[in-house]
């Protein structure tokens, strides 16, 4: 029996249209309106965008998001890669170590946030109790994760570093798929670990790494949302951890400014697209 490919694709296409394209189109239209979820939207042209760029909170949120992506994404990739290279072999402890590396990503985001809220507690939290000794030796106070802007930003990034489980699993699989004899050949040629990493492992894993880089950049705008909502509540003031996603959420659902939030969402999307295009170009050039 011959089935039309369109028929086979139908469920996916339907989902794509209903869950992605239509909401996207609606967001684009709403960005040019004032809409409070209660009364019908009113067309306001570019007003939302003009207001956005005059809004200091939006500018801070934008800056926060860009910094977050610029620091968290490479670090996450590096950590996932490091763990994958450490743990791709079979060994007695590797099974449990792999589970440990992958597990945080499996914890529901909110529960994960609450856990860190406790970990970061400035007085009773285990992190600062551990850091109290070393900090005192250095003549410093332990980081104020919840009350100092940069410490809080670092905290949100640290939180994101432990959820690389999915990347880790992909990279372990990518590493295990590399041919063994290539490494044996390198051993016979007496290549050093660094040479092997630089000349063999890295280039062979580059496609997987490139894909993850692009994907994680896209995800980074969402990645910071729950931690900022649950742990720092967008603070410490002024808006140290108010990322674009939280900005959008607040305006849409707390201040009922859906149109304004839609405009911010569009800016966020545009930035993501630019970042992804830049990376794709870079990766392509690197391959030539």
């Amino acid at each position: 029996m011959k089935r039309s490919p369109w028929l086979m694709l139908a469920p996916y296409v339907f989902g794509l249209v209903a869950l992605v394209l239509v909401p996207f189109a609606v967001t684009v239209v709403l960005a040019f309106t004032e809409y409070d979820l209660i009364n019908p939207p009113v067309w306001v042209g570019w007003a939302n965008f003009t207001e956005l760029f005059d809004d200091p909170i939006f500018r801070m949120a934008l800056g926060n998001s860009l910094w977050f992506a610029a620091i968290a994404v490479p670090l996450r990739l590096l950590i996932a890669l490091g763990l994958a290279l450490l743990l791709h072999r079979r060994s007695w402890f590797v099974g449990s170590a792999r589970t440990a590396a992958a597990l945080p990503a499996a914890v529901p985001e909110i529960a994960y946030g609450l856990l860190w809220l406790w970990l970061f507690n400035p007085v009773h939290g285990p992190i600062n109790q551990l850091l109290a000794g070393p900090s005192a030796l250095l003549g410093r106070t332990p980081p104020a994760w919840l009350t100092l802007p940069n410490d809080a930003r670092a905290g949100i990034i640290i939180m994101s570093l432990f959820t690389v489980g999915e990347m880790f699993v992909i990279l372990v699989a990518a590493r295990q798929a590399l041919p063994r004899d290539v490494y044996e050949l390198a051993a016979i040629e007496d290549a050093t670990g660094w040479d092997i990493f630089r000349r063999i492992t890295l280039p062979l894993m580059a496609p997987a790494l490139g894909l993850l880089l692009v994907r994680d950049t896209i995800m980074s705008f969402q990645l910071s949302f729950t931690p900022a909502l649950v742990v720092t509540n967008g603070g410490p003031p002024p808006y140290a951890t108010t990322y674009l996603s939280l900005f959008v959420y607040r305006n849409a659902f707390e201040y009922l400014r859906y149109g304004f939030a839609a405009a911010a969402t569009l800016v966020m999307l545009a930035l993501t697209v630019v970042a992804v295009l830049l990376q794709v170009r870079l990766l392509r050039r690197a391959r030539l």
Partner: protein
């Protein structure tokens, strides 16, 4: 911390796909509220009483916190399936009132044979009048009071607050209560020499928010806004308001009688109070249910300290009916019951509220002799209570000012910059409310 936890769990539930189902004439009336488990239990008690009396059931729709309630309410209104009723503070109902999402209750109130407008404290009723019409009906009326740990006062020989006490008395009391681990008075900030000492008990817990500042500014004869009805800007630069603001931030900056920001993040004030680490706590009636669980010390409430004249700030939540409700008559009957003397007495017995019903508030149901013994303080303050304006963008105003005031109190930002920042950032938000 607890509130964050509840909020987070509720979001989890939301993501888990819990839906509220569809409403219809035969469905139970849905009432959306948020609150701690104690508060939610109080609502269930009321609903059970209503069911026992009328055979009609009311369904409680629980939100995790105020912001979650706004989110869920607005999305359910947009989705065409709003709850019939919700309970909301007058500071936050403005955005729904302005957007015409509420069913005015004025006509029903006039026609009612069960309740009448004159039975309630006018200050609370007025807070829920929008463009001259009664939109929602206030369930409670609380002022800001000082909760204090009597046992701790006795332990350190600190005199208890007296009616009419001044800000200076208040500060002195707080200083006497601020103690180190050995129980000696300690200065954790200000002019103390060397590294700031660590306090294990602080004098007072007060959050650096505009609604905590407002009653003191008023008491000092000042105003916080240029207009009560149509505010366009904050007037914190007026001498009276500025003095109140300076005194407020000095509690931490100059005298160190309030916990530091780190300590507040580590342990919320209410928990700190319950754990003997705070001598006084500024809060509304709201804290009573939680504190009644405290068994190892005695506590009571006192009136706010006074600058020039007594002033308080209104805390009041009201039953509001959504315009999109499909069950308005049934919803109204529940409001009538909840607002009646009987319903108010029943609800106040849970400890959660000061009834807005005048007779109920003066009855044994409220003045029941339970802690706090000085419950009369709540009623005595009502005549001098004022309120912040009910404008549609007030939630944003509170969020924006809170961050700036936090930095003033904990980071020691210069007050002229603080005031300028508040002014600059809130003007556009006030302007948006006028549109």
């Amino acid at each position: 911390m607890t509130r964050k936890l509840i909020a987070a769990l509720a979001v989890l539930a939301l993501l888990g796909g819990c839906s509220t189902g569809t409403a219809g004439a035969n469905e139970p009336v849905k009432l959306m509220v948020f609150g701690s488990p104690d508060e939610l239990a109080a609502y269930r008690t009321l609903m059970q009483a209503y069911k026992d009396k009328t055979g009609k059931s009311v369904q409680l729709v629980e939100a995790s916190d105020r912001k979650d309630l706004i989110t869920r309410l607005s999305t359910s209104i947009a989705g065409g399936e709003p709850p019939d009723l919700f309970l909301m503070n007058y500071r936050f109902y403005g955005q729904f009132a302005a957007k015409n999402a509420l069913e005015p209750l004025a006509d029903r109130l006039t026609a009612s044979s069960v309740i009448k407008a004159g039975d309630y404290y006018p200050v609370a009723m007025e807070a829920f009048q929008w463009q001259g019409r009664q939109l929602c009906l206030p369930q409670n009326v609380s002022s800001l009071v000082v909760y204090y740990n009597k046992t701790l006062f006795a332990k350190y020989g600190v005199p208890e607050p007296k009616p009419g006490w001044t800000w200076t008395d208040f500060l002195g009391t707080a200083l006497l209560l601020t103690r180190d681990a050995a129980g000696n008075p300690v200065r954790t900030s200000g002019e103390s020499e060397g590294a700031p000492a660590k306090a294990s008990v602080y004098g007072v817990g007060i959050e650096p928010s505009i609604i905590r500042l407002a009653p003191f500014a008023w008491s000092n004869g000042g105003e916080i806004l240029d207009s009560e009805q149509k505010p366009t800007r904050f007037t914190l630069d007026s001498p009276a308001a500025l003095e109140a603001l300076k005194n407020l931030v000095d509690l931490r900056l100059a005298y160190g009688v309030t916990p530091t920001d780190q300590e507040v993040e580590a342990e919320a004030d209410e928990a700190r109070f319950a754990n003997w680490r705070l001598g006084m706590l500024l809060s509304s009636r709201r804290s009573t249910t939680a504190l009644r669980k405290v068994k190892d010390f005695e506590w009571d409430v006192a009136a706010l300290p006074v600058y020039k004249k007594p002033a308080g700030i209104l805390h009041s939540d009201a039953y509001c009916m959504t315009k999109g409700s499909k069950n308005k008559d049934a919803a109204w009957r529940f409001i009538e019951y909840a607002m009646s003397a009987e319903g108010q007495k029943m609800f106040t017995a849970t400890g959660r509220t000061v009834p807005s019903h005048i007779e109920a508030s003066k009855s044994d149901a409220f003045l029941d002799g339970k802690t706090p013994k000085n419950a009369q303080v709540f009623l005595d303050g009502i005549p001098t209570i004022r309120r912040v304006p009910t404008i549609s963008t007030w939630p944003e105003i509170e969020d924006v000012t809170y961050g700036i005031l936090e930095n003033a109190m904990f980071r020691g930002d210069r007050l002229d910059t603080v005031i300028a920042d508040i002014d600059k950032q809130t003007r556009p938000i006030f302007a948006r409310a006028q549109q």
